[in-house]
Symmetry: C2
Subunit: 86 residues, 2 copies
């Protein structure tokens, strides 16, 4: 079984109010040193048997059509054979 892991975050020049809120909360808890915080999405998709190449093509289409908003978000993904939880 293949596991696709997709990491989505806002483009660097897009305002990230959720990130600001988390940064503020970290500071109020006494954590110093977090210069900037970005909050994104993380998808883990278990794929039925198919080749890795086919999986990569499909995952890219999934990202472009549903999982991400390409206007404001960037994504990266990996496709791995089974195991290796993260």
């Amino acid at each position: 079984m293949l596991i696709a892991k997709i990491y989505v975050k806002l483009k660097r020049d897009v305002s990230d109010p959720q990130g600001f809120a988390v940064k503020g909360a970290l500071e109020s808890l006494g954590f110093k040193g977090a210069d900037r915080v970005h909050v994104g999405k993380y998808f883990v998709i278990e794929l039925a048997d198919m080749s890795r190449d086919a999986a990569e093509v499909m995952v890219r289409q999934m990202c472009d059509k549903l999982l991400t908003n390409p206007v404001i978000e960037d994504y990266t993904f990996t496709v791995e054979q089974n195991g290796g939880e993260a």
Copy 2:
């Protein structure tokens, strides 16, 4: 500058309705083969100058105290030197 990347997802035996919804949406768009979908959070934190060891200790505390709910969520993280966007 150090970059911490934190990946949070629900524990495997916790119901993930958002994942079900995404799976349904993928199927309605014609994507076959997504057996299971998990939706999680992804944090990228830019840390001011500190040692990597100190950063790892701090990031773990951030996760335990604010960023994750250890009752229902698992997390992993990496701390890298600068660059290497993901």
